[in-house]
Symmetry: D2
Subunit: 147 residues, 4 copies
């Protein structure tokens, strides 16, 4: 019906993927700023688009017989300054390390020239049906190495 309206995908600046996020009422709290857990939603959107841009489709992986998906193992978040309603943010994503089933990603959230949040995320790739970690998709690793 409205197929010409395509969602944004973000883009690469060298190895760093940058994804735009607008702050809506749903993201804020009664303190007048973005609720602290919601920056993690922004970060996950950016990681998803980063992985999609590298050629991996998470819904297909989830719908496969084995049901593959990423699980977050560890996060470290440094909140430097708050975002507010209507802010246009840039959320970055880059892979720092990867080995076996796990990868470490580094992310920043910027409003213009101001760095608001820094996030380090360790994720593991899992077979949800076998409930255990499995090697990261080879296609993903090759795509990362080509960056």
């Amino acid at each position: 019906m409205f197929d010409e309206v395509l969602p944004p995908q973000g883009k690469f600046y060298g190895k760093v993927f940058v994804f735009p996020v607008r702050v809506y009422y749903e993201d804020t709290d009664a303190g007048g700023i973005v609720y602290y857990a919601n920056y993690l939603r922004f970060a996950e959107r950016a990681r998803t688009e980063y992985i999609r841009a590298l050629g991996c489709n998470q819904q297909e992986a989830l719908e496969s017989e084995e049901k593959f998906g990423f699980a977050v193992r560890h996060i470290d978040v440094d909140y430097k300054a708050p975002a507010v309603l209507d802010d246009a943010l840039a959320v970055t994503c880059e892979i720092r390390e990867y080995a076996g089933a796990t990868a470490v990603m580094f992310q920043q959230i910027w409003r213009g020239e101001k760095l608001l949040v820094e996030i380090e995320v360790k994720v593991a790739y899992l077979s949800l049906s076998r409930k255990r970690p499995v090697r990261l998709p080879q296609s993903l690793i090759e795509a990362v190495e080509k960056l």
Copy 2:
């Protein structure tokens, strides 16, 4: 830093504003589909961009001395088919009626040719400091009439 990465704004098809939304993990639930309340987040994003496209800035209104904002008075939501992870949705928004402090908006959520959700929303414009309804901004009414 990454100012060239601008958020999407949606666009008008006649009087109907259409706003793209991608479904992420945050939007889904253990049933494997979008959680029923989260379609309302998508709808509110579209309403916000619709109002922005008509020249109103909600963060400015909220930061004004009187603190103006929209409050939802009534919603009627018809769930016809579910959205799933990774879906690219088109969320529409159009004003059906308006008078005094209130407006009725009609919204649909589409995935390609498939209509998933229909929403009717009645909103009121409020002075948050005086805690009572106030007339809709004249600039908004004029922008709607020009569509």
Copy 3:
């Protein structure tokens, strides 16, 4: 470890189930009130505890081979007054009608003597693996009829 700390379950006042909800920062938005979609999260919690109190376990149903679950078909929500941070709310739930795969529930959200929100919800019971409606569990119907 802390098994003695059990979650609340709500209780019946005749046929009406009443479930307590506290408003936290996560529920509010920059307007200083509860975000309109979040009342639906409160309502779903109350429906879940109502169904649990009637002897149905949704996680078991979801983990069964057929994967049964409720899907919301229609909601009508009347927002009469806002809830704010720290409010202690009472969320009611009662079944108004049921037939075949569907049930209509009526819910209210109160803060003390003040009625804040009224919700009518139509749900359908689904086999998620067959992707179609199935008859409501007999045990649920019997429990409702005994109220």
Copy 4:
């Protein structure tokens, strides 16, 4: 109307406050487990009830002329095992350090004997109107020292 239905408050085990949380559909995602950011909502609920149990009212502080509130500065979250729909969780909270405007809290999320998540949170107490850190409320410090 239903005042006798009071929300849960959690309780102290020595210096450790324990708060119960039930997992609902809203908390889960299409992977069938609790979405990673939502554990932070559980943790903030527990911190709020911990602070309330120590005699501080956050809504009153927010409504005061200066508008005081806590802001999260840093979090470190270790995800050990996932929670799923219907889980009854125990969320702990204890203050590890405090000085001036900041406090470090340590939190764990348990399901029975199984430790699922560990969280270290650094918060700062802010005057929202002056937009800067202020000394932690003396009443809070005294209550912590009495534990």
